[in-house]
């Protein structure tokens, strides 16, 4: 079962964050290869596991880095807004230990600069999340 475990000093204060890479979807890559087009280098990002998020969100600038085009539109509700339309993109999330999940992500502005991605319940739906507070670790298995 592919999995990774991350230790986060001050896990309670910082939250369950992990360094990931964001890559274009496998179908997108196939099409680009077939047309002899460049494959964008995956973007480094700090992600937070967010059980309060229905779906996975990436910061909008990552879309440009990866030269992605939208494949859909969705509505989102946040603590301060309702029914905001956002674009969706096909993407692969590369976690540590070669754990890879392909999903459709939402692009939206994220506060501050330190978190570029929220891993939502669309990804958690496929796995097991173990949050061990007293050792300041969490494990995600698929």
């Amino acid at each position: 079962m592919p999995s990774f475990t991350t230790t986060v000093p001050n896990l309670q204060g910082v939250g369950p964050v992990v360094e990931i890479r964001l890559a274009i979807g496998s179908t997108t890559e196939e099409v680009l290869r077939k047309n002899n087009q460049n494959i964008p280098i995956p973007a480094q990002a700090l992600a937070m596991i967010d059980t309060g998020a229905t779906g996975t969100v990436i910061r909008e600038d990552i879309v440009n880095q990866l030269n992605l085009n939208p494949v859909g539109v969705t509505l989102i509700n946040t603590p301060s807004s309702t029914n905001v339309q956002c674009y969706e993109y096909l993407m692969r999330i590369l976690f540590p230990n070669n754990v890879i999940v392909e999903t459709v992500v939402i692009a939206a502005p994220l506060q501050g600069q330190h978190i570029q991605c929220l891993i939502g319940r669309d990804v958690l739906h496929h796995g097991v999340l173990i949050y061990t507070g007293y050792t300041e670790t969490f494990t995600l298995s698929f």
Partner: protein
């Protein structure tokens, strides 16, 4: 949100009633003013979209009466 997929959303909304009648719960692949095809899963529709059109914007949309918004409790989202 920008102008991308505006035309595709208009196309989807124009055909929404007939789509609900024949394919409720499935996924429509839409490009410009055309409903290209209907698929059982979102990923099948996306794959077909890339294979047909390449790395360009296209719309894959679930055929439902009312769109349910995705919810985010985090205040990290700046919308």
């Amino acid at each position: 949100m920008g102008e991308l997929l505006t035309k595709e959303l208009q196309t989807f909304n124009t055909h929404k009633s007939e789509l609900i009648g024949k394919a409720n719960g499935k996924f429509a692949l839409v490009k410009d003013d055309q409903i290209v095809d209907i698929f059982d899963t979102k990923f099948d529709a996306i794959r077909q979209g890339y294979e047909h059109f390449g790395n360009v914007p296209f719309l894959v949309k679930k055929i439902v009466e009312i769109d349910i918004p995705q919810n985010f409790t985090s205040n990290l989202l700046r919308v």
